[in-house]
Structure formats: C-alpha cells, structure tokens
C-alpha cells in the first residue's frame, strides 16, 4: 500500500467509518444517559430538583471565571483556551470545509487564514502546556492516569501535523506522510471519543443533574449497593 493510497483510504472509507461511530456513538451515549437519568429519577424519594443550582454550576464549569479567581487561575485559562481552539479549528478550517464540499456538497463559513493560523498555534502551545503541567506539578501527576497523557498527545497529533502541512514548505513525499499521520490520528480520535473520557464533550451537561439526583436517593440505598457489591452473584 503506497502512502497516497493509504491517505485515500484514511480519508475515505476509514473516515466515513470513524465519523459514523463518532456521531452515532455520541447519540447513543446521550440516549443511554437520559434513559438512565429518567430511571434513576423515578427511584428518588424527593422529586424536587435544584434546577437553578444545576444551571449555575454547569455555566461555572463551562466558563470558569469564578474558578479563575480562586485557586486554579493558570490552569483554568489554559484549559479554556485549549478547549476553544480544539473545537473551533477543525470545524471551521477552510481545507476541511473544502473536503466536505467536494465529497457531499455541503459548506459553511470558514475561518480566515490568519485566525486559523494563530488559533491552531495557540491550541498546540496550550495543549503542550497542559501536558507539561501534568508531568511537572506533583498533585496533578498523582491524579493522572496513563490515558490522560495518551489523550493529550493524541489530540495534539493532528494539530501539529496539520499545522506543518498548512504552513511549512516541505517536499511532496514528506507532506503525504505527515498528511497520513494527520488523518489517521483524526480517525482514531473520532472512533475513541464515544468510548472514553472525551465523551464529556456531550455528557458534561448531564453531570450536574446526575450529581443532584445522587443526593436524592432514599436513605439506606448505599447499604443496598454495598450488599450487591458483596453478593457472590455480582
């Protein structure tokens, strides 16, 4: 298999496969989440839910202004900007939109070239900062699992490779190789998102609701859980 045919495969059949897994997989976990919440809600003894609190807490997580004021100033800013670039750049990049237009004929407004350049660069920088922070700060290192490092590296791969392809003059063979890495990494991200912690991109809105319901279970529910855990049937 030559590089160019591998590239065609990765952005043809493999892309369709991974994109389908991404969209349907996310739809599936949203459905399962809502289904589970409804079931759990039916089991609560106090049917009143603190919607106001849930809303303000959710907003607080999405726009971490308050947290920035408190103990996590640098991390909050870096993380927010990283997330911003991570979402905006791939969706509104002209080259990506162009591919969509050529294959299925749909199109939407693209980022100006300069914006895309700086946003992509900032995402790479902030991503790298988070990675270094995870390794350098003792508490963060203690809390981190292997998958946390893996995800940061995997998410940064298409950004770095894409940045190289879009902005540097490199010879055609190397360009194709970098492009293959770019597309394959993107496909892998799409496939893994619905089955990993990155699913928080759609599950985040529900997390506060789940937490709130958790407080509403009848007293003694914890014992029942413990009993179940210990039961030999499992």
């Amino acid at each position: 298999m030559t590089t160019s045919s591998l590239l065609e495969f990765a952005r043809g059949p493999l892309f369709r496969l991974s994109f389908a897994i991404l969209i349907l997989g996310l739809g599936r976990i949203i459905f399962l989440e809502i289904w589970g919440i409804i079931k759990a809600y039916g089991n609560t003894c106090d049917m009143k839910m603190p919607w106001q609190l849930i809303r303000s807490r959710s907003l607080e997580w999405i726009l971490p202004v308050k947290r920035m004021m408190r103990n996590r100033d640098v991390y909050s800013v870096v993380s927010f900007l990283f997330h911003f670039g991570l979402l905006i750049v791939p969706i509104f990049l002209f080259a990506h939109i162009n591919l969509w237009q050529q294959s299925v004929g749909i199109t939407w407004p693209a980022l100006p070239y300069l914006w895309a350049f700086w946003l992509a660069l900032s995402t790479i920088v902030f991503g790298a900062t988070m990675l270094i922070g995870r390794m350098a700060v003792k508490q963060m290192r203690f809390l981190s699992k292997p998958q946390d490092y893996f995800w940061l590296i995997l998410l940064l791969t298409p950004f770095v490779t894409g940045f190289i392809c879009a902005n540097l003059s490199i010879n055609a063979a190397f360009y194709q190789f970098i492009m293959v890495v770019h597309v394959l990494a993107g496909d892998l991200i799409f496939i893994l998102i619905p089955f990993s912690k990155i699913a928080h991109c759609v599950l985040a809105p529900f997390s506060q609701v789940v937490g709130a319901i958790g407080w509403k279970f009848p007293s003694g529910a914890d014992e029942a859980i413990t009993r179940t855990l210990d039961s030999p049937k499992g």
């Binding site: 389908a20 897994i21 349907l24 599936r28 289904w35 589970g36 162009n98 070239y113 179940t228």
Partner: protein
C-alpha cells in the same frame, strides 16, 4: 447460551448495517446503491421485499380462514402470532418499497391519482386496505393491557368476523394480482414462468407458503424461547400444505403441458435448471415428504419441509420479479447493498415481532427472557470495576453498540467511487487507440476515423503552413520546432502527450474546464486565495487572474454557450472536426465546390451535401485496433444486438 439474546444481537447488527446503506440510498440515489439499470429496472427489492414479502405474509389470511371461517378451534394458539407476522410482513413490504421507489414521498399519490387499468394500482390499494385490516385484527391484543381502551377493544372483537372476511377477500385479490403485474411483459419473463394463469398460480402458492410460513415461524419462535414445540399443530399444517402443493403442481404442469412448454423444462438452459430447482425445492420434495402422515409428526421433517417451501416460494417470487428473464432483456445481479437493505428490513420486523412477543399476550405465558426481567439484581463487572446497570440497561447498551458499530462498518464499506456516482470511467469519450495509425472512435460506435500519425508528422516536416483558429495564428515549420504544438495544443506536465478526450470529455456538449477545487486544494495546485483573486473586490471568476497568467502559451477561449467568463471546452466532435477539417477544408472545397464554410466548420446543411464524410469516417473498426480498445472490457452490459452510444454488432 441464551438463544433469543444472541438472535437479537445479530438482528440489531443487520439492522445497523442496513441503516447505513439506507442513508446513502436516500442521499445519493438508486444508482450508487443498487445494480438496477435501464435494462433491468426491477430487481431484488421487488422480487424479495415486495413479492416474496407479501406472499410470506399470506399466513395471516390462511390461518384466520382456518380458524374463523372453517371453525378449526384447535389452531387457536397459532392465530395471534400469524396475524402479527402478517401485519409486520406487510409493514416490512411497505418499508421495503420505500427504498425501491424512486420518489417514495409520493407513495400516497395512489390514493388521489387513479389508474384502475394498472394491476399495480390494485395491488397498492389492496395492500393499503389489508394492512389497515390486519392492524384492526391484531390491535385487541395490545389493547388488552390498557383497560381504558376496553370499549374500542370490545368493538373490534365484536366485528372480528367481518374484518377476517374482508381480509381474506382483499388477500385473494392482491396475492393473485401480484402475478397479473407480469402479464403485460411476455417479452421479458421467460415462458416457463409466464402464463396467463400466473395470478391463479400466485394465489395457490401463496396459500401453501402462508401455511408453511406459520409453521416455520412457530418452530423458530418456540426454539428461540425453548418452549415445547407445537408438533401436533404444525403436523396438521404440513398435511394441509401437502394437498395445496399438490394442487399447485398439477395446475402448473397442466398449464405447461397445454401451452406446449414442457420441452423448455429440459432444454438445459440456465433458466430451465433454475425452474427445476425451484419447483423441486418449493413443491415436489416437500409435498412428497408431507404426503406420509407418519413423517409429518417428526420435527426434522417439519423443519426441513417448511423451510424448503418458504425458501422455494421466495425463490419463485424472485424469479418472476426479475431473475427469470430472457437473456436479451436482462442483465442484473443484485449488489450487496440491495441485499443488506432487504436483510435489514426483515431484521427490524423480526425485532418488533420478538418485542411484541415478550411484551404482550401472544402466547398464554409470556416467554421468560432473563433480559426483560427488571427484578434481577444489578450487576458489576469486577475486573474493570464498572457498573453494568440493570439487565435491561445492559441489553440496551449492547444492542445500541451493535447497531452503531455495524452502521459505521456499513458507512466504511460504501466505495467512494459509488458515493459520487461516477460512470464507467472518468473519461466520457473513449481516447484514440493505436500507435502509428490512430483509430479515432470517440463515441464507440464502430465508426472510426483512421488517422496516420506518422504520415502527418512526415507531411508537417516538409511543409510550412499556418492556420488561423479563433483569431490565433498557428504555424508549423519544416524545421520541426513547432510541429507538435501545431496539433497538440495542451500537453501534460513532463512532456507527456495528453489525450484529446482528457479535456474534451463530452461527445456533443461543451464542458466547463476550470477545476477550482483542485487549484485550491493542498494536494492539488496548493494555491492560496490571494494567488489568483485580488483582495478588496468580490472574489469571482471575473475578477480572478486570467488562466494564461500562469499557463503561458496555452489557448483558452470562452465557449459559445458560456454567458459568463467561465472557461468552456468544445465538445469532442467539434474539436476533432475543427482540428481536421480546418486543414482539410481546402481539399474539400475543391472537391465539393462548396460556396461557403462556416468559419472553417461545416454547418449541418453543408454536411448533408457532402458525400465526403465517409472518406474519413469509416465503418467497422479494424481488428488490430479493436484489440487495443480497453473500454470494451470495462462496459458491463453486453448485448447481441446493439452496443455503445451508436451501436456495434458483437458476434
């Protein structure tokens, strides 16, 4: 091992796979998903989804007739499942039809636009009415669970006999009318299947198939939920089926005998082999097996016999629906995507059947599927310390995962080329073939212009000429410097001579030449917007750089049909005529004493007076050049009459 659980998983996978194909079918049309073509516009979907589907659902009217009309009370356990199967079967037929119809959103047009001459009109109406009747026949079962609908249920129960009678009458009509569909095409359907009593044969075989489908469905569902098989009842069905099959066989043989077609059965063509297989599997072997009453009580005989009838009769419907055509009128094998859709529709129907079976009172006792029992304790997976949820949550998660993954696999398996609905190949005009002497046969019509490349080079080497095309003067000198570009105005990079057909891609029409996407693409010319478009003005073709700013020395002219500034390429015919005639016009003038020419191109009126066309355009491609024509291999449909655009005789 939980049979029902595994079966459901497989059904979900098939349904997911079909959903991916369905998405593509609706987004990109029938051409990319099916192998249907202008020669064989009906295929597997009509044969299996519609014709076989309706026939498989015949169990509903046969069972209700036996139970309500003939008062055979012992068949009571089979009535509810049979009516449910029939209802779901008809819904599956309609859903399957939604894939096959080109404009499925117009399916309701049959209600307002009437053409009573059409058998399909009659089938459509009967299917609509009978599906409603089946819904009314079955709805007492789910309504039983909700006491507030008791009134409706009692009303339906009261008039059940009327519904059953109406259902039988409607079924008689459309089961036979499916055969009438093909009466109008004696030229297509092979004579072994074509007969004027096709409607009657269809009705009899539908009764037999209905009986055996009820038997098969009973056997399978009881096996799935590990219940005691209804051996006695199924045995009775088999014995009745033996008589119906015998009647079918007699009618069919008599018809073949009277119309003198018996000889066709044994003439060794593939159609006759197919016929023998079909009649043996669907009728002869099962009828013989069921003829012995002792055998009909054996589960092995019941399983094989009912399966053979079901498979054989389905094959019969597929044969009539498109497989058993004359060789000269058909060329079609279903694509995997067609089969995937059909399997998916059937799987979805089966899933609904199993759901209703577990949820409502179809059998006296609802089947004990451990997955559907919420009182089972929640479970943890100890190895991964993850919460698996209650059993129903786990099954929901598993089934949806199976659906998602198989959907994604289906999306991946669509070939990109098919997605874009490309043609035989990207070049629409076949390039000239040959080496020293070219055979120019762009429209593949066995008419060719023989062009001696060597001869023309030799001539150009000794003559200095100039020629004016579209106001541009082209010259060729004996020194040979400009000789190639005199004819070859546009060459590929690397001094590779480009085929005329690569740019003049359409035989008779102008084509747009400029590929904007390629110029902007990073893997193409990799140009930034600013490279061609000035900033500060509207970025369109008019304000862009001219092509000649980069492609120096090339000759781009806007076409005659081009209102805007886009670049058009003349059609292949125009280009070739311009190329040849503009040189040869002088000779032509002498010979035919034409008073006028149209800018070097002959107008149609002049052409009609020219006997000289034939001096270039010859008939019959010489065999040594014919071997070189790659397109002959690529074209999938052969005909013993006519071939490509304007016709070739192939022996």
């Amino acid at each position: 091992m939980n049979r029902a659980k595994n079966a459901k998983l497989v059904l979900w996978i098939l349904a997911g796979f079909a959903a991916a194909v369905a998405l593509n079918r609706y987004l990109f049309g029938l051409g990319v998903t099916t192998n249907l073509n202008d020669r064989t516009p009906w295929g597997f979907w009509i044969g299996f989804d519609v014709m076989a589907g309706v026939a498989l659902a015949a169990g509903g009217f046969v069972t209700t007739a036996v139970f309500y009309i003939m008062k055979r009370e012992e068949f009571h356990p089979l009535v509810k499942p049979a009516v449910l199967t029939a209802f779901l079967g008809y819904v599956a037929v309609v859903v399957g039809l939604l894939f096959d119809l080109g404009l499925p959103w117009n399916i309701w047009h049959m209600i307002i636009y009437w053409n009573p001459h059409s058998p399909l009109f009659e089938v459509g109406w009967c299917v609509m009415l009978y599906t409603s009747v089946l819904l009314l026949e079955f709805s007492p079962v789910p309504l039983e669970e909700y006491s507030r609908y008791a009134k409706i249920r009692n009303f339906l129960m009261k008039y059940r006999f009327v519904l059953v009678l109406l259902g039988i009458m409607l079924s008689t009509l459309h089961q036979s009318s499916l055969g009438s569909l093909f009466l109008i095409m004696p030229e297509r359907l092979y004579p072994l299947w074509y007969t004027h009593i096709l409607p009657i044969e269809f009705f009899i075989s539908a009764v037999a198939l209905g009986l055996m489908m009820v038997a098969f469905e009973t056997l399978v569902s009881h096996w799935l939920y590990r219940r005691d098989p209804e051996t006695v009842l199924v045995g009775k069905l088999c014995r009745v089926a033996a008589w119906v099959l015998a009647l079918y066989f007699v009618v069919k043989s008599f018809d073949l005998g009277i119309t003198g077609k018996l000889g066709l059965v044994f003439n060794g063509k593939w159609q006759s082999d197919l016929f023998i297989v079909e009649i043996a599997v669907s009728t002869i072997i099962p009828a013989v097996m069921f003829a012995v009453p002792r055998l009909t009580r054996k589960p092995v005989v019941q399983w094989t016999g009912s399966f053979m009838v079901v498979a054989g009769m389905v094959l019969n419907r597929i044969d009539v629906g498109g497989l058993a055509m004359y060789d000269s009128t058909a060329s079609y094998t279903p694509s995997w995507m067609e089969i995937a859709i059909s399997l998916g529709v059937v799987s979805a129907a089966c899933l609904v059947f199993l759901f209703v079976l577990e949820r409502f009172n179809i059998w006296e006792i609802k089947p004990a599927d451990p997955e559907s029992m919420p009182q089972t304790a929640p479970s943890f997976d100890y190895s991964s310390r993850s919460w698996l949820g209650t059993p129903d949550a786990a099954s929901l998660a598993r089934h949806s995962l199976a659906f998602v993954l198989s959907f994604a696999l289906g999306m991946g398996m669509m070939s990109g080329k098919r997605l874009h609905a490309e043609g035989v190949d990207s070049i629409r005009v076949s390039p000239a073939t040959g080496i020293d002497t070219l055979c120019i046969n762009g429209n593949r019509d066995d008419q060719y212009v023989e062009f001696s490349h060597e001869g023309h080079i030799a001539w150009l080497r000794t003559h200095a000429i100039s020629l004016t095309i579209d106001g541009v003067v082209h010259t060729a000198s004996p020194s040979g410097g400009d000789s190639c570009t005199f004819c070859h105005h546009l060459n590929l990079p690397g001094e590779k001579v480009s085929n005329c057909a690569e740019c003049h891609t359409s035989m008779y029409s102008e084509v747009d030449f400029f590929r904007h996407g390629w110029h902007a693409s990073a893997v193409g010319a990799n140009l930034k917007c600013d490279d061609c478009h000035a900033t500060g003005v509207t970025r369109n073709a008019a304000s862009a750089k001219k092509c000649t700013a980069c492609h120096r020395g090339y000759d781009f002219a806007p076409g005659k049909g081009a209102a805007g500034p886009e670049l058009y390429i003349p059609s292949y015919v125009d280009a070739m005529h311009k190329l040849c005639v503009s040189c040869h016009i002088a000779d032509l003038r002498e010979v035919s004493s034409l008073s006028q020419t149209n800018g070097g191109i002959l107008s149609g009126k002049d052409k009609s007076n020219l006997a000289q066309c034939a001096s270039c355009h010859r008939t019959g491609v010489p065999p040594e050049l014919r071997a070189d024509m790659k397109w002959q291999v690529k074209l999938p449909h052969y005909d013993n009459v006519v071939l490509p655009n304007v016709g070739v005789t192939v022996k």
